[in-house]
Amino acid sequence: MSRPEVPTVVLIGQPNGGKSTLFNSIAGPKAETSNFPGTSVKHTHSRVNIEGRLLDVVDLPGTYSLCPDDPTEQVVLTHLFAEKPDLVVNVVDSSTMSRGLELTLELVELGYPTVVALNMVDLAERKGIELDAVKAERLLGVPVVLTIAAHGRGVRELLDRVFEVIDKGQQPRPPSYSDDVEDMIAEVARLMPPEFPVVSNTRFTAIKLIETAGHACGRILGQVEPGLKEAVDRVRRTIEGRRGVPAYEVISAERHHQAMKLFEESSRILHGRRLTWDKKVDAVLMHSFFGYVILAAVLLAFFFIIFMVGSPLETLLLSPFIKLRAVLAASLGDGLLYHLAEGLIQGIGGGIAIVLPYFLPLLFLMSALEDVGYLARAGFLLDAFMHRIGLHGKSVSPFILGFGCNVPAVVSTRMLESHHDRVLTSILIPFIPCSARTTIVLALVAFYLGPLWAMGFYAVNIAVVALVGWAVSRFMKEPSPGLILEIPSLKAPRLNSIARKTWLQIHSFIKLAWPILIGGSIMLSLLTFFKADRIVNDILAPLVVQGLGLPHDLGVTLVFGFLRKELSLIMMLQALGVDYQNLMTVITREQIVVFTVFISFFIPCLSTFVILWKEIGRKWALVSTGLSIGVALVLSWAVRLVL
């Protein structure tokens, strides 16, 4: 076996198994992030040097099986099948080992060199499970190492075994299915034409063909040719005829029993030492009354902390940009150069000083809630309410993320299995007030009309999300498959994994949104320089002046609200020619509310629009935009009538 220059090792495991913790423990905090080709769901890779030997370590998203349904999990498959890593480290949560082993058995069938890390053995011990790695290793035919990744325990031995397998190769022995199933697998393998795109070996490919026809995994395996497809269909019918359940269920059930047997033979249950404190905490967290009280408190604290951190940080970060602008204005005069520089500064300054102060703490707290396991519990509590708008509890976390920025929120809808849920959630996300819009609400409504008005604004906003969701779901008849959500055991938050998650999200936000922010700002400055803003104002006058009752000069700010929502605020002052403190001299309270309502809703910002287009297609991106415009008009007129 020829040894590759730098071997690639991928970490694969079910969600919440401590895979990323193990990755951090091996790779340290210096891990680079990268985009996976064709999608932007992240995986992390890092080149590490272990006593002079190099290793490329890749951390993939968690997956329950090798026949996954949701797009995030399919990334794992594509990577595994297309990139052919030199070795797979299968990370198994040993406290729920009998289920984790089902994926392990699939990996052994796949037949790539594999090492199993039975992780979080401390948790298993507290649950009263004693594990025998030697026995498990003998039964699986691949090295098994006990680890506690969070403390670095067993990681050294794991790496030793990894190098041992890379150097010497490995012959895993996948367990057999019942004879009749094995016969069927052999038949499909025999009928496979020589040029068929086999993944790893013919047996694995045959099993997956039987398990997955008409399913996403089948598509990834390549277009099955007619002759073989017929054989696979026949085999599937034969199995179903004999066992009375679909073939995929037969195979899955046999694997399930193999896994349970393996677990029983390689572990000992010590009774009377069952972990109980987290069950008690969970009973309160998911209580039908206290659960909601805690949820409300958590969310309130969440936003309180964000604004406590965000607003002083914003002032602090914004001041150098304001000074720089003043210096440039003095030295460059009012020429083209000044306008270009001003646009650049506004763009960079907006990105750093307006978005990050709110966005960063939000992402951090969000990651913390996810890490502890609270998001899944919030999903459980809010599921019934989400059903009213045609969704279920899994959409809760994209929505919460939307309060920071709609862009990563739309990307995160990939964790939803059904296309219907993904589209509906993505359409609704632009109605969630992101940090940029919150900045406007705070600066205009809270500052000039009082905090109660701002809270009222939020309440109306959430009602709008619910109403639009309810209305749209009337038209999207396809029923949502319903909630199936794992509730992971509660974990103590760990700073480095939270920081890493936060960094991954910030990184993708910066890469996607900043070029648009900066480009938009420069364009705006150029428009002002060439006096094109007047033309825009004239064109929009019927809407702005007659429709909304706002000053003529504000037309151009609406256009630029499309580029960057918070730009509208700066633009508004610029367009009206006043500074922030004197705003009320040129505009009424009513106009402030109308302006804020309209700016908040009338269109998703450009970055959101682009990501909607990319994620759910042009049609739905336009539907979402149309809905936003409609809602903005109706609400603004309603506000004019009421006030």
Binding site: S65, E249, M260, D383, E417
Partner: protein
């Protein structure tokens, strides 16, 4: 009976997974199979989801009202 009608805290055996292919596949992937022993751990208000724990793997999932209706169970009588 289905999971919605099952008593809280009792040990139950999964007799059948009704429902469509995607729901069944998801349940299988999350480690819920016919014949498994499970326990109902909680119920949310307003026809919300239920919490069900697989006693073999000690994993817990939340199942929406509609999904829970399709999981058919029977009580397990344990020797006292």
């Amino acid at each position: 009976m289905n999971l919605l009608e099952a008593p809280h805290g009792a040990r139950l055996r999964v007799v059948d997974l009704a429902g469509g292919e995607s729901v069944r596949r998801r349940l299988l992937a999350l480690g819920f199979h016919k014949g498994d022993i499970v326990q109902l751990d909680g119920k949310a208000i307003f026809r919300g989801p239920i919490l069900v724990r697989n006693c073999a793997s000690d994993t817990t999932v939340a199942l929406g009202h509609g999904v829970a209706m399709k999981v058919i169970v029977e009580p397990v009588y344990e020797p006292a």
